[in-house]
Amino acid sequence: MNYLADVGALARKDLLLELRAKETVPAMLLFVLSTLTVFHFALPRGTGHVAALGLLWVALVFTALLGLTRAFVPEREQGLMDALVLAPADRSAIWLAKVLAVLAFLGLAEVVALPAFAAFFSGIDGRTVAAVALADVGICAVGTLTGAMAVAGRARELILPLLFLPLAIPVVVGGVGASAGAGGRYLGFLVLYDAVFGLLAWASFEYVVSET
């Protein structure tokens, strides 16, 4: 009970910070819309639906990366990770709260991005929406862990994409596979990815943020 209340308090804090600073979500929205616009004009006429779907996934992964880059900015700039890790609450609650907050930001960006994709390219079916939702969970789980690792390093702007993008490759494979037609099998793959990497990230966050 205490654990969930801690997660709730920390996630509420992250949402409140974004509501007031308005830095992450507007940037993600602008980025994903700009990217889809560029793809719309860059792709030759008559490009197939599957190729367009591939570009949608590229846009979504890099939009998520933008959000993840900002995820630990308040803690990094104000040294607040010290205050959070000193608290007797379970440290994985910090990770889970961040995942929920980034998930909310990414979800908001996608609420705009998916209709924009449908307008620019072609319609989106239920399988693609399900794949995007499942991929979001994995992206946020793994990305928040790598974001925390990057915060501790010096070249953090470089480290996050270098750590995150290789781990996001299976998500893109699953996402493109599910939305391009071979639905069930790839959706199952995304569920498996979420479960395995979510559990690993949850269990290892403690070691990432503590030096002692």
Partner: protein, 192 residues
């Protein structure tokens, strides 16, 4: 309470401090002094459990018993004092949170600005809020790094009074202004 023997810390080949012995129990006030870059902050981070020593033995009380104030006040600038203290009160399982937060905000002169964003505060007011955060869960060991930083005369006097009241607890304080707390110190550690 807090015991360290032969404590050392290195960053790569750079030695920060070596063979430091510290023993602090309830009622002790360890005053840590030394010039900039002498290792005071690193030692305090080790003693608060935020950094691992490279060598030696270290016994720390549980996390909920430690109150740490670093160079930064460690509060969210986009939140209000009330929201900051409610968050940390929740994480530290502070009983009767509302009353405790109200009392601390009153005491440190922040009650009237409790709904204002911390980012609009002066550095001194942020430091006062940082002290509220540290005292919120009534820790039995306080590790304070330059607690007088940015405080005006009234704030410094208030902190003097607070430290005197806390003399039954274990305190480790690093400062550039040792005269201010010299009378409270029961032990001293000077870095060269």
């Amino acid at each position: 309470m807090l015991s360290a023997r032969n404590l050392s810390k290195r960053f790569g080949v750079k030695r920060v401090f070596d063979r430091v012995d510290v023993s602090v129990v309830a009622g002790d006030f360890l005053l840590v002094t030394g010039p900039n870059g002498s290792g005071k902050t690193t030692l305090l981070r080790v003693l608060a459990g935020l950094a691992a020593p490279t060598g030696g033995e270290l016994e720390l009380p549980p996390r909920e018993s430690i109150g740490y104030l670093g160079h930064e006040p460690l509060v969210y600038r986009e939140l209000t004092p009330l929201e900051n203290l409610q968050l940390f009160g929740r994480l530290y399982r502070v009983p009767e949170r509302r009353e405790r937060i109200g009392m601390l905000l009153e005491r440190f002169g922040l009650w009237d600005v409790r709904h204002d964003r911390v980012g609009t505060f002066s550095r001194g007011m942020q430091q006062r809020l940082g002290l509220c955060r540290v005292l919120l869960h009534e820790p039995s060991l306080l590790v304070l790094d330059e607690p007088f930083n940015a405080l005006d005369a009234a704030g410094a006097e208030l902190l003097d009074e607070t430290l005197t009241e806390l003399s039954a607890r274990a305190l480790v304080v690093a400062t550039h202004d040792p005269e201010r707390v010299e009378h409270l110190a029961t032990d001293r550690l000077a870095f060269a």
